[in-house]
Symmetry: C2
Subunit: 210 residues, 2 copies
């Protein structure tokens, strides 16, 4: 629903919010009225946060994660295991995996998944740079940590094929299984089947950092 | 949950979105990653829409609605009935009522409702200016179009008392009744009771512009 606003300033601000995913014009108007109640300095800082972010953001030249320096703190840390590279879709996934504190290696951020439906091909994401990292040597294991979706699986297979010329590099992927806290009764049968095939020795389940 | 971001630019942008009502840090991060995919020019326009809005917004000196001129298009329109003033809480309500096309008079935007719980007293909203408008003469009817809540009723009563010195001015309020499309069975008894007390002649229900 297009609404007529009393002011083009208001119209522009509402349209700006409404251009974001998941935000409609009604919510956008509510957010704009909230901003109007804030003081001018705060609203200026609000708007400039996005302008500065987009203008000054840099990506790590190694892993393509968001970074303030040419090489990000993770890639340049001497305490991380440079021989293990975890391949993820985006920046959020790096944060999710970092939060688990279970990965001591480096990352490689693809910036998307192969999705023919959305017109995203292998050349649109950071796969060539991943292959080059592996070809340059030093990588012993590539962990594919992509979503368990059609796009994730397609991307997994594509990367697997592209890394075939390097048989010494181990390629692993995240375990599929019953989510912690989930009941067997409510676990879908595909997941349950995979969790039986990939069953693990009982004593391993006590170790969180193996 | 406070997350550690790789970049203070990212942190600032996420915090900016998360400062808005109803937006948490997870949604904020999703919105920020969306902005990062847009080109720099679009993101600059995005941020500047809010900065410009807050810096340049003007309010109509008569009705306190958002306006680009000193007196808004509604207040300055010769085709509107200046003797009928509809009192509303905020700018959104003006738009809602304008959309009905049933009100040909002017508005008075309070900018809030009296709410002792939130520390909003009569002096914090545009009640004095409403009383002055009535005192200046020319207003024959004041329509109270406030929400059917505790705060709305409190504000209604307060305005009613403040306008008591002007007995020639008719004070009306929105009809309470069964919403169009609602079933009797699911209408709450307070509303149903009011709708019986305020029953209308059957033939009036065919007229939408009486």
């Amino acid at each position: 629903m297009e609404q007529e606003f009393a002011s083009s300033l208001l119209e522009n601000a509402v349209s700006a919010f409404a251009s974001l995913p998941g935000i409609g014009r009604k919510t956008a108007l509510r957010l704009v009225l909230h901003l109007l109640k804030q003081n001018e300095q705060d609203v200026t800082a609000f708007g400039e946060a996005f302008i500065k972010l987009r203008r000054e953001i840099r990506y790590c030249t190694m892993c393509h994660n968001i970074s303030e320096s040419e090489v990000c703190p993770i890639c340049s840390s001497p305490s991380r295991d440079a021989s293990t590279v975890c391949v993820v879709e985006n920046v959020k996934d790096v944060m999710s995996i970092e939060n688990t504190q279970q990965h001591r290696g480096l990352y490689h951020v693809l910036g998307g998944l192969i999705s023919p439906m959305d017109g995203v091909g292998p050349q649109d994401i950071e796969i060539d740079s991943l292959v080059k990292r592996v070809a340059d040597g030093g990588v012993k294991e590539v962990i594919l940590a992509l979503s368990a979706t059609m796009e994730g699986d397609t991307t997994n297979f594509y990367i697997f094929r592209r890394l075939a010329p390097y048989p010494d590099v181990k390629i692993t992927m995240l375990a599929r299984g019953v989510s912690v806290g989930n009941e067997i009764e409510y676990t879908d049968s595909l997941t349950l089947g995979r969790s039986i095939l990939n069953r693990t020795p009982f004593q391993d389940s006590f170790s969180t950092n193996q």
